[in-house]
Symmetry: C2
C-alpha cells in the first residue's frame, strides 16, 4: 500500500460561464493526492513549487498523510500558473495564460525513502520528467499509470512514445485518444493505443462517463448526472487519484478490480466539480465517499430477464 504520485502543484485561475475564481491552488499532483489519500496513505508526492506556494496547503496535505519529501521548494521562484476559460459545455476550454516558472526546468528527484513503493501514478507533466521518475525507480512498480494531454502529443511525441512503452495504464480524454491514434472511432482508437505500450486504457468522456479497454474487453462507467458543474478543473486528476488509490489499497491489478477503480475514480471526480479548486476534496469525508459510490451502483444497476 505505497503509492508515488508525480505531477504539478500549482496555481490556477478559472473562468466559467457561471463564475470566476481568484488565483487558487491546483495542479495535477495536488488533486491526485487529495483524492488518493481517501484510499491509501502515505501518498508519496514528487513535485516542485515556488516560494509563493502556501505553507498551509502543504500542511493540509501532510495532515492527510501525503509525504512531501519529494516536493522541491524553490524559495526564490514562482509556482507554475495556468489560467483558462471554460465554454458552455464545461468540457472544452481555452488556455488564457501559462507561466511555467519552476516547472520549466523541473528535475524530479525520487527520495530513497520512496524506493519500496508498489504503485506509481504519473500525473500530467512533460513526458521527459515522467520518464526520469520511471528510470530512478530501482524496482518496477506493480502498476504504473500515466496521464498526459494533447499538448505533449504536439510538442514532445518522441518522449511520450518512450513513456507509453513503460506504463501499464494510460488515462486520457476522448479527444486526446482520437489525436493520439488518428482514429475517430474510440474502439479503433483504443486498439491502436493498446499497441503503443499500455495494457489498459481509460478514456475519460467528462459528463458522458469513462471507458476502460483491455485486450478485447470494454467496460463503460457512467458519470453522475449533475444539476450543476461548478468547476471541472482537476476532475481528470481527481479521477486518476481515486483510480490508483483504490487499486493501491486493494493491491489488486486485475481487469475486474480495475472496473471498480474506474467507478471509484468517477465518484471522486463527481465531487471535485462541485466547488472551485480543491475545496470540495478537502472537506470530503469517508461516509460521503461511500455514499457516492453507492449512488453509482444504483445508477447503472438493472436486473433483466431475457425472454424465453
Amino acid at each position: 500500500m505505497s503509492l508515488i504520485v508525480v505531477g504539478s502543484m500549482a496555481f490556477d485561475q478559472i473562468e466559467t460561464p457561471f463564475g470566476k475564481s481568484d488565483r487558487i491552488v491546483g495542479g495535477a499532483a495536488t488533486y491526485i493526492a487529495w483524492s488518493a489519500s481517501h484510499f491509501v496513505t502515505p501518498v508519496r508526492q514528487v513535485s516542485v513549487v515556488g516560494g509563493d506556494f502556501p505553507q498551509s496547503e502543504l500542511d493540509a496535505l501532510a495532515a492527510r498523510g501525503v509525504d512531501l519529501d519529494g516536493v522541491q521548494v524553490m524559495k526564490d521562484r514562482k509556482s507554475f500558473f495556468w489560467s483558462g476559460r471554460y465554454h458552455m459545455d464545461m468540457n472544452s476550454r481555452d488556455t488564457l495564460e501559462t507561466q511555467l516558472n519552476v516547472l520549466g526546468d523541473f528535475n524530479p528527484v525520487v527520495p530513497d525513502s520512496y524506493q519500496d513503493s508498489e504503485f506509481l501514478m504519473l500525473g500530467n507533466l512533460a513526458p521527459a520528467v515522467q520518464l526520469s521518475v520511471i528510470r530512478q525507480l530501482r524496482r518496477k512498480p506493480k502498476l504504473t499509470v500515466l496521464d498526459t494531454m494533447n499538448f505533449w502529443m504536439e510538442s514532445a511525441m518522441p518522449d511520450l512514445e518512450k513513456v507509453l512503452r513503460e506504463v501499464d495504464v494510460l488515462l486520457i480524454n476522448d479527444s486526446e485518444a482520437r489525436q493520439l491514434s488518428a482514429q475517430y472511432s474510440l474502439v479503433r482508437a483504443a486498439r491502436e493505443i493498446l499497441k503503443m505500450g499500455p495494457r489498459y486504457l481509460v478514456i475519460k468522456k467528462g459528463e458522458h462517463g469513462a471507458l476502460l479497454f483491455h485486450e478485447n474487453h470494454v467496460f463503460v462507467a457512467p458519470a453522475l448526472p449533475l444539476e450543476d458543474v461548478f468547476d471541472p478543473t482537476g476532475a481528470g486528476d481527481t479521477f486518476a487519484g481515486g483510480f490508483i488509490g483504490f487499486i493501491a489499497r486493494s493491491r489488486n491489478t486485475s481487469f475486474e478490480n480495475m472496473k471498480s477503480a474506474v467507478i471509484v475514480g468517477s465518484a471522486m471526480a463527481s465531487f471535485c466539480v462541485e466547488k472551485f479548486g480543491t475545496l470540495r476534496m478537502q472537506e470530503l469525508d469517508r461516509a460521503e465517499v461511500d455514499s457516492r459510490i453507492r449512488q453509482f451502483i444504483d445508477l447503472v444497476n438493472f436486473d433483466i430477464d431475457l425472454l424465453g
Copy 2:
C-alpha cells in the same frame, strides 16, 4: 400484449462521411415495428404510404407479425421522403430535402380491431396527428410513449404541449431536451420536462448512451462502443421499438422494468446503425438479440467492495 405504433413509413436517402445510400425504405413507424416485433406481436401499425411504397416491404412486415389494417395506402400519391447528410460525429445531421407528400394531410384512423390495445407508441409525427390517435382510443392504454423532435418544438409547440399532458413516457435526445426545457444541465432539463406531463423521461445521447428520469431517480444506460457506425438513421426509432416492445411483452410498467427496457432499446439501436436503413433489423434473429443484451450486462457490470 397488444401494441399500437403510430408514425411515418417513408423513403430516406442518406449521406454519411463514409457512404451514400439509394432511396431506401425508412420512417419512424417502420423502424419501431421491426424492432418491437422481436418482443411482441401483433404490432398494430397506424401510418400512411403512397402507391410508390414497395408491397414487398409491407409483406415483410406482415410476415413479422405487423398488423397493417391501420396503414392507409394512397395509390395515386407519393410516400414521405427525407434526405440528409451526417457530420463526422455521426450524431448531428443536416436535412437536405423533405417532401411531405401523403404525410402533409395525414388523418390517422384507428381501426376498431385495435381498440383493445394496452400499449401505445407515438413515433415522431405532427403532434396534432399523435393527439388524434390518443383521442380515438376509447380505453386509455396502460402506457403511452411519445417520441418527438425539435422541428415540432419550433412549429407546433401548443399542440406538442397538449400531447405531453397525455403521455406517460417521453423519448427525446439531449439537444431536444435542452431546447424543450430551456435548461443546459440535463438534470435540470429533466426536472422541467417532468412537470409538462410525462412521468418518465428518456434522454437519448447517441454514442454516449441514454438517461432515464423518474421523480428523483435517474438510471444511466451505456451505448455499446462500436468500431463503426454505418448509418445512425432510425436508431432512435429502433430504440423506441425495443423499449416499448419489451414493456408490452412483460406488461410491467414499473421503474425497475423500465430500466431494463432502456437497455433493450439500446441493444436494438446498436444493431440498427450497423447497416443502411432497416437491413440489419430485417435479418436479425432472437439469438443475436439475446447475445447483444448479454453484452450490455457485461459492459456495465462491476462488483465493488466498499472498503471498511
